[in-house]
């Protein structure tokens, strides 16, 4: 019987201090390295981003894409919209979950640090809207295959 999942590594980044404004280019929210020591390892990635919209004097919609990258390669993305009325303030949160079953990308020296990034890319931010992240948490757990 093969059980696939003892949690053997854990790394995280968390910030709730500095708002990051989203205008028209991708913004890096968090970055971390996880040491991977076996080609069979998987990495369970979880993230949560709290963000806010301050609307102008017109209704509209903001669209953001929240992304996870491994060594600059996109491995996960999820989109979230904020549909607002004139003058409104919206508080939202986006939650991300992904299992990276190929953290070493098929090669590399073992053990190796693998870099994961949490990034937000604006898909649509209408003129006059203020969009900012408020806080975020980004967690990576190494899961090691085991045989009983």
């Amino acid at each position: 019987m093969v059980e696939k999942g003892i949690l053997t590594g854990f790394s995280f980044r968390e910030s709730f201090i500095t708002p990051l404004f989203i205008i028209n280019t991708p913004v890096l929210l968090a970055e971390m390295n996880l040491r991977i020591d076996d080609a069979e390892d998987r990495v369970w990635l979880n993230g949560m981003v709290n963000w806010a919209v301050v609307a102008p004097e017109a209704a509209g919609t903001v669209d953001l894409l929240f992304e996870i990258l491994r060594e600059n390669t996109l491995i996960y993305s999820i989109a979230q919209s904020a549909s607002y009325y004139p003058g409104g303030v919206l508080l939202l949160n986006a939650q991300l979950q992904h299992v990276d079953d190929n953290p070493l990308a098929g090669g590399g020296v073992i053990p190796a640090p693998v870099r994961y990034q949490l990034r937000v890319t604006p898909l649509s931010v209408p003129s006059g809207v203020q969009v900012a992240t408020v806080s975020q948490a980004f967690v990576a757990s190494e899961l090691k295959a085991t045989e009983l």
Partner: protein, 155 residues
């Protein structure tokens, strides 16, 4: 509804993660082409199924799911999406996500489910199947990814 706070009793620790299974039919937004329609009431759309071997009656299963949703509104209103987790054919968890728009257009959103199944087994050790499914109260909702469904055995 019963409450289970999972607290330690006496000096017994209850919580080593000993198995982990995942079903991730899509990992990026827009990768399901064409998008999968979310069925309208009374039907459901199955989004993912995960199976995990459980070897002890006292084991628990920590379930987590995340789904990207898209709603195409023709005017300002709200649509409700019901998401369920089933063990076999038994409903064990349900939540509802509302998507709203102030006008016509496309709205994208994320939904996250988390549940701890404290009674995955009723008999001898076996594989336990969990299904993630969704239903909308209006036929304007689809998913184009991501869909991630994980099950962790906790001994």
């Amino acid at each position: 509804m019963t409450e289970n706070n999972g607290s330690q009793q006496g000096f017994i620790e209850k919580g080593i993660l000993t198995d982990f299974q995942v079903s991730e039919p899509a990992s990026t937004f827009g990768s399901i082409v064409p998008p999968v329609s979310i069925a309208s009431n009374p039907n459901f759309s199955n989004l993912a199924t995960v199976s995990i071997e459980i070897d002890d009656l006292t084991d628990k299963v920590w379930l987590n799911a995340s789904v990207g949703l898209v709603a195409q509104f023709s005017n300002a209103h709200t649509v409700d999406v019901t998401l369920q987790i089933l063990r076999g054919t038994t409903l064990i968890y349900q939540t509802v996500k509302s998507l709203s728009s102030t006008s016509s257009g496309t709205v994208r959103d994320t939904v996250y489910l988390e549940h701890v199944d404290t009674t995955p087994l009723t008999g001898s050790p076996s594989a336990v199947n969990y299904t993630l499914r969704a239903q909308a109260n209006d036929s304007i909702v689809t998913t184009s990814g991501p869909i991630t469904f994980t099950a962790a055995e906790i001994e």
